[in-house]
Structures are given as structure tokens and as C-alpha cells.
Amino acid sequence: MEAVLENLGSTLELLAVSQMDFVSKWDAQTADRAFQWAAYCEHVYTRFHSNPSVRAVLEECLRLTNERLCEALPGHRPLSLSDLSQCRHRLLICLLRNPLTPYSVIKSLFDKSLLFEGDGDMKQGRETDMDLAGLIGCKSACKILGSFPLNPKGTPDSAAVTQTHVQGLMLLQRIHALQRLPGNDSYNKALLDAVLQDSGGLGHFSDVITASLLMKDSSSEHTAAQDFLLDWLQGDEGLLHSVCHSLSVEQCAKLSQQWPKFRLLYWGILKKWASSLEYDVAAGVWIQPCDSAVSFKTLVDHFMSLWSSPLKEETKKELVVLKKEEGDFDVQGLSVWTDLLIQLK
């Protein structure tokens, strides 16, 4: 194992160097060897990443290497276990992004990885070469097919396109693959955190999460992964708030129907939003005291969506209870629940 860790460390150093000006000393052979080592790292990752005890050792090795590199190379971006899984691709991108990469290195990349003869089949003895032509082809094909609406006859829904659906599916599979083996829960959670972070904000990712959670004909493995995803959402109230905020009211209602766990969380959020509203007596309207809260109109929209779903009775009952708790007034402007019920009826 020690030798493995040593190799790993040196390869990560290579990866770091490829982003620096040292790379100008490389030639095509250096790059070749670097790619071979990168392929080795990918192999190490595949072999060990789902084994909690070995993973801990790998992560420790990564941590130490990162520390060392940060000291030696200012501005070094720490590398993660995910970087290990795509080491050759990372190296490629580093070389392509580095203006100091020698021309001969890029030229040889071009000749070896892009201009495969024929259909881009892997040739004997060239297993560490990447099939970039194949990658570009698949990536472009996904772009072409990704924008198809999945339910053209239903309501137009920007989230219901092939790409989002498949991303949701891939996410579930990824979660499940780790779930199958014991001791991976925190790794799994960290992975979701990392995806969220690298997505550049919740935005489209909340659509993916929704797609994951709404995945129909769920096999038991999907259900377990969906459950895990919900737990992850629950673990971070800020995140949950943002998710409910960025999803459409229809999506929230759909999720509430399918997942009792989500329904409870959603209710909690709605209650919080509602109770944060203040009544402006002069203007006769409910106003939001701060920017993070939602408007009365938005709140009505959310409830309206639940109201027109099979959850209507339940919603009504709950609102009536809340109204009673606040004095059961029928006059407007005293309790937000009273006013919501008036709007909904």
C-alpha cells in the first residue's frame, strides 16, 4: 500500500505541475508518462474508492499531498478523490488550459487521442490513450437529445426534459452504488455536497433533485437512494429552503404527494414563511420583513397548488387547525392563516 500511496502522491504532483509554468520543460514523452501515471491513479480509484477503510487512507494521502503542494505552489487548487477518478481528463484539461504547455505536447495529444483512424476504436497497446473523438461524439449526442421535452402533451415544464430526467437517474445510481456497501454514508453525503458546490449554486440542480425524487417505477434500490437524498436535504435547512424556493409550486406539490417525508419538511417551510409575514395595517397587505422571506402572493400560489392536488383535504385541515391556534378569527389582517384560507376558498 505504501508504494501505491507514494505513486499516488507523485502523480498528484504531476497534475499540479501541469498547471504551472514548469510544464514548459515537458516534451511529448513526459506527457505520455504523465498520462500513464494518471491512468494508474484512475485504476487505484476504481479499485478502492468504495472501500471505507482504504478510502480513508487514500483521503489522508490526498490531504497530505495537498498540504505539501499548497505550501510549495501558491494558488494550488486542492485535489479530491473525484479528481482521482478522472485523472487523465484532469491532466488533459490542465495541459490545454496552461498557455505554457509546449506546442509539441499539444500536437502529440492531437495526433494520439483525437485523430484515431476509423471509428475511434482503442488500439492494442494504446489503452492509456483517451478516446477523445468518442468523448466529443457522446457529449454532443447528449446535447442533442438532452433538450427533448418528455411530456409534450402535458403542461410545459422546463424541468421535464430528457437531460434533467437522466441526470436525476444518474444521480440516484451514483448514490445507490455507494449505498450498497456499508460505511459509505458520510462519503455519499460529502459527494452530494460536492456536486452541489460544483454546480455553481442550486439553480438547475434542484430540478435534478426533483427529477430524482419523482422518478417513477422506482425499484427498491431507487427508493433507498431517494430516501437518502431526502435525508440529505433535511440535514440542511438553508438548502431545503432554497430548494422549495427555486422549484415551481407544481413540483413542490408533486413531491409532497409522492414523499410524506418531503410533505412534512415542505409544510415546515411554508409555516415558517407564513409566520414571517407582517401585516401592514395602513396598506392592508401582508408584507415580507426581509428579502429571504416570500411574498404573500407566492405563499398563496404554493398553497393553491396543494389545494388543487389530492392533498386538498389534508391541507385544508391543517390550515383550519393553524387558524384556530391563532384565535380563529374570520376578519382579514389578523391571522395569516385566516387570510390564506379566504384566498384559497
Binding site: 484512475e42 480509484y45 474508492h49 473525484s82 477518478s85 478522472q86 487523465r88 481528463h89 488533459l92 484539461i93 490545454l96 488550459r97 498557455p99 506546442y103 509539441s104 499539444i106 500536437k107 492531437f110 495526433d111 483525437l114 485523430l115 475511434g120 483517451m130 478516446d131 473523438a133 468518442g134 468523448l135 466529443i136 461524439g137 457522446c138 457529449k139 454532443s140 449526442a141 447528449c142 446535447k143 442533442i144 437529445l145 427533448f148 418528455l150 409534450p152 402533451k153 430528457t162 437531460q163 437522466v166 441526470q167 444518474m170 444521480l171 451514483r174 459527494l191 460536492a194 456536486v195 452541489l196 458546490q197 460544483d198 454546480s199 455553481g200 439553480g203 438547475h204 440542480f205 435534478v208
Partner: protein, 565 residues
């Protein structure tokens, strides 16, 4: 170096600008419409770029090239298609300088680095990028997996729409859009299920739901052997695209007519792999169309042995496919041969292998009798009205066409002629003559029968002998060189060579002497291969026949077989 025409350059530059990233449906449609011509233009561009000594020179003589290629790299319809992507990248590769000499070349290099970055990675800070990065597999695998899932999803959608009730909104627009998107993907193995599902979707409403470009792309990919869809998807294509079917038949015909050397030994394989016999057995109208193409080919090149061999082998493969089907799925054979005289169907469509050899002569007599009746009518009418009526002519042609389709019986007759006596030979010679000379052009039938009999008599004398004296060879030579009946005499000659009792060494000697002329050898090679096809089918095979046939084939050699007339 040939310069690129100005109008072409501005046309394609204009297209590249208009297409952009191909986000609107009209642009997608336009891109797919120009896929093939774009590929030829890129090919031309590549040929222009390759001999250039430097990027500076390239930029000077083709100032548009950078912008043009760069824009195309952003169009997924161009980069998804394997061939156009390869051409595009090769062109870009030509502009990369390993040792840049000036600022222009350095800038070009930087630009190419960025282009490659764009092509191989996602923008950071996007969900696609994040999911790919943390997928735990290499990007190529991740995208391939994603693509498979998208394909599965859309396949389901496309197949589900199959049961769309007519009262609901017609889904043809959606299907059409999917088919346009699939144009660059037709040869992508991961997309095969979707391509198949699109093809198998029956046209449920009057509007044509698949884009023409899609049909064209699938059809072309099939002909280039690049298509990976299931057989029934391809057959579905033929069912709703007549031109695709015709092209498939013509391509088979062309391969037989042009590339004899290799097709010859594998004619049956080529025919089976064309899937046309299988499709014909399942869909009667496909069989009728295929045979219409054959009919026309035969009319144009009546004496071509290759076409005849193809038709015979095709019919054989068709009958085999048909037998393999469940009987309840089969239409009656009559439906497949609507124009042929119905009384001929049973005797001709029965394979010689299904009849005991002792009964062949009787079976052939029956066939001959039926043909004679048909021809008798022709001749009588001819005397009456001095000219054949078109209807009559058509009937004779159809009878003859059926004989070509079932050519095994002609071979059987030729084989029997080697051993029968003079009296029994008459009807067999008649059948052989009719097969080779169906028309009575210039009332030559009688004359041709005489020639056939004469040849037969000579061959009978020639073949039992061990060494053939030159004076006995010359009449055969003479007959062969007469343009009248070359094929007929060759047919007889080869049957004698294989089935007579003469030793193989003397036979080979005779054949080599007689078939000195290359054109004649080629014809002989075709005939032997066509005979072989029948002999391979027969179980009770004379053990000496096969080695003799092979020796003969070797002695006239496939090496001489190119270009048959």
C-alpha cells in the same frame, strides 16, 4: 492545389454563422439537410489544407477557415456525427503548428487549445460539469451512460406514442423532431434502440412523421454497412420508404455486377446479408418490388449470367426464409408470383433436392410440357396476326422469368443431358434453349435448337475420351465463338465437364484449351459458382462432383473472374 470556389466558401461560411449552436428546430433541420454536402466540403477543405507548408500560408489563402471551423465546433449536430467530426478535427489539426514562427501561428495554437477544451469538457460551475466530475467514472463512460439512458427514455416515448388515439393531438411533430435529432446519430451504437423505435413506428396519420434526411441517413448507413439496428427495424424502413428499398436492391445488384471476384464465392452470403430475402418472405410487396427491379435489369442485360445467378440465389434464399416462418404467417405462394402462370408454380418452386433424382426426368418433362403449351400459344398467335400481342409476350416473359428464378431446374436438365440418350434429350435441350433464348427474335428458336443439339452431340463424343484430339475440339470452339448461343453451349460444356465419367485431368485440359479467351472464362466462373450453389444444397451428393467442380474452378481461376459480361 485547387482553390476553393468563392461561392462555395461564402455559402458555407454563411451556413456556419446561421447555424450557430443549432438550438432552433429550423436550424437543426437545415444542418441535417446539408450534412452530406458539408462533409464533402470539409473533405475538399482538408485536401486544400494538407499540402500547405504553414498555418500562416493557410490563413493567408483561406482567411475564413478559422472562423468557419471554430463555429462548426460549437454545433453539436456536426460534432456528434463521427465522420464530420473527424474531418473537422483533421482540418483543425492542420492549423496547429508544432513550431510556430510568428504571432499569427501562436494565436492559432492558443485558439485551438481553447477549442479542444470546449469540445472535451463542460463549463465549470454547471450541473452537467458537477455531475460528470463526481460520477466516479471517466467522462467518456459517463456520457456514454447518459446517452444510453436518454436513448432508452426517448425510445420509450416514441414507442408509447404508437398507441396514441386519433382523437388526441397528433404526435407527428414530436416524432419528426426526434428523427431530425437522430440524423447525426444513425451510426452511433448507443443510439440504435431509438433509431429502431423510430423506424418501427407505423405511419398512423397522413403526415409523414420521419424526416426525409433521417430516412436518407439510415438508408445510406445501411448500404455502407454502418447501421446497427435490428432486422425488423430495417424492414420497417423498407415498408415505408420505397426509395430506400430500391436502393438496397440496386446496391445488391451493383455489387454483383461490379465486384464479381469476391461476391462470386459469397453470392449466397451477400444475398442473405442484404436481408432482402428475409424481408421478402415477411412482406409480400417487398418481394414484388425486388423482383420488379430484377425484371428491369434482366430486360436491359438479358444475357448477363451474374444477374441470372443473383435472381436464382435470391429466390432460393427467399424460399428458405419462407420455410423457416410459421406456416400460419405465410401468404400463399400465389400472392408472391401473381404474374407467373399458376400451373408452373408447383413444379418449378419445388427444389430439385425435394424430388428423388430418379424422378427428375419425369419432373422436367412435366415442366417442359407446360412451357411448350405456353409457347405453342405464342407461335400460333404469331402465325395468325404476324406479330405477338403485348399481352402474350408478357405471359411468355413471366413464364421465363419464373424459370430464371427457379434456375435450379435448368441446371438439373443440363446435368441430366450428360447421361441421357438421344430421345430423352429433346425436351431437356428445349428447356435449356428456352432458358438461354427466350425470345423468338427473327424466328431463331428452331435454329438455336439445332445448334444446341449439334453441340450436345459433339460433347457426347468429346468427353468419354481420355485425350481430346484437336479436330474434335474445333467444332466446340466454333460453336462457342458463334455469338448466337455461347451461354447455352458453355452451360452444356461445363455440365459435361463435371458430371461425365471422363477423368478430371483430361477434362481440365479440354476446358483450358477451349476456354482460352478471358471473357469466356469469366462466364464459366459465374456458371460454375451458380451451379455450386445448387449442389451445396443437395444432401445426396455424388462424392466425386464437388472435388471436380473445385478443380475446374481452380483451373479457370477466380483471378480471371473480374468483369463479367
Amino acid at each position: 492545389m485547387t482553390a476553393l470556389p468563392e461561392h462555395q466558401v461564402s455559402f458555407w461560411m454563411d451556413k456556419a454563422v446561421k447555424w450557430g449552436q443549432a438550438t432552433s428546430h429550423s436550424v437543426q433541420l437545415d444542418t441535417t439537410r446539408h450534412m452530406d454536402s458539408l462533409k464533402s466540403f470539409l473533405q475538399q477543405l482538408l485536401r486544400t489544407l494538407q499540402p500547405m507548408s504553414s498555418t500562416t500560408e493557410a490563413m493567408k489563402s483561406l482567411p475564413f477557415v478559422g472562423q468557419f471551423l471554430g463555429r462548426l465546433c460549437w454545433n453539436p449536430y456536426v460534432t456528434a456525427d463521427g465522420e464530420s467530426q473527424r474531418l473537422l478535427l483533421q482540418c483543425v489539426g492542420c492549423l496547429y503548428s508544432a513550431e510556430p514562427k510568428n504571432a499569427v501561428e501562436r494565436r492559432a495554437n492558443d485558439w485551438i487549445r481553447n477549442l479542444l477544451c470546449h469540445l472535451t469538457s463542460e463549463e465549470e460551475g454547471s450541473v452537467v460539469h458537477a455531475l460528470e466530475k463526481h460520477s466516479g467514472s471517466i467522462p467518456q463512460q459517463y456520457y456514454s451512460e447518459t446517452l444510453k439512458k436518454m436513448v432508452a427514455l426517448l425510445t420509450e416515448e416514441v414507442s408509447k406514442n404508437r398507441i396514441t388515439k386519433s382523437s388526441e393531438r397528433c404526435s407527428c411533430d414530436d416524432i419528426h423532431a426526434v428523427s431530425v435529432a437522430c440524423v447525426p446519430l444513425v451510426t452511433h451504437p448507443d443510439a440504435a434502440p431509438l433509431i429502431g423505435a423510430l423506424l418501427k413506428r407505423p405511419g398512423s396519420c397522413s403526415c409523414s412523421h420521419l424526416s426525409e434526411e433521417f430516412i436518407e441517413a439510415v438508408s445510406a448507413a445501411w448500404l455502407r454497412r454502418k447501421l446497427v439496428v435490428e432486422d425488423d427495424a430495417l424492414m420497417a424502413l423498407w415498408c415505408h420508404s420505397l426509395s430506400s428499398l430500391e436502393r438496397a436492391v440496386l446496391s445488391l445488384l451493383e455489387s454483383v455486377l461490379s465486384d464479381q471476384g469476391s461476391v462470386l464465392q459469397t453470392l449466397e452470403k451477400a444475398v442473405t446479408e442484404s436481408l432482402l430475402p428475409k424481408a421478402s418472405a415477411l412482406h409480400c410487396h417487398i418481394f414484388l418490388i425486388v423482383n420488379d427491379v430484377f425484371r428491369n435489369a434482366l430486360r436491359a442485360i438479358e444475357e448477363n449470367l451474374a444477374v441470372r445467378a443473383l435472381i436464382k440465389v435470391f429466390t432460393g434464399c427467399f424460399l428458405k426464409s419462407r420455410t423457416a416462418q410459421k406456416p400460419q404467417e405465410n401468404l400463399p405462394l400465389r400472392a408472391f408470383f401473381p404474374h407467373a402462370p399458376q400451373n408452373l408454380l408447383t413444379p418449378l418452386l419445388t427444389a430439385p433436392s425435394e424430388v428423388p433424382k430418379q424422378a427428375w426426368l419425369k419432373h422436367l418433362h412435366w415442366i417442359v410440357k407446360l412451357f411448350q403449351e405456353i409457347l405453342c400459344e405464342r407461335n400460333e398467335r404469331e402465325e395468325e396476326v404476324k406479330e405477338e400481342s403485348p399481352r402474350r409476350r408478357r405471359a411468355v416473359f413471366e413464364a421465363w422469368f419464373l424459370l430464371v428464378q427457379c434456375g435450379h431446374w435448368v441446371d438439373a436438365a443440363a446435368e441430366l443431358l450428360v447421361s441421357v440418350g438421344s430421345e430423352e434429350s429433346e425436351p431437356l435441350l428445349f428447356l435449356l434453349t428456352f432458358y438461354h433464348h427466350p425470345t423468338n427474335r427473327g424466328h431463331q428458336s428452331a435454329q438455336q435448337t439445332i445448334v444446341a443439339r449439334e453441340a450436345w452431340s459433339h460433347l457426347r463424343i468429346l468427353f468419354p475420351t481420355h485425350t481430346a484430339p484437336p479436330e474434335q475440339l474445333s467444332p466446340v470452339n466454333e460453336l462457342l465463338s458463334s455469338t448466337l448461343s455461347t451461354n447455352l453451349i458453355l452451360h452444356l460444356l461445363l455440365n459435361f465437364a463435371i458430371f461425365s465419367q471422363a477423368s478430371i485431368s483430361s477434362v481440365t485440359e479440354v476446358i483450358q484449351k477451349v476456354l482460352s479467351e478471358a471473357g469466356m472464362r469469366r462466364r464459366a466462373v459465374w456458371m460454375l459458382s451458380s451451379m455450386q450453389h445448387r449442389l451445396n444444397r443437395e444432401d445426396s451428393l455424388d462424392a466425386r462432383v464437388h472435388p471436380r467442380l473445385r478443380t475446374l474452378q481452380d483451373s479457370i481461376g477466380p483471378a480471371h473472374a473480374a468483369g463479367c459480361t
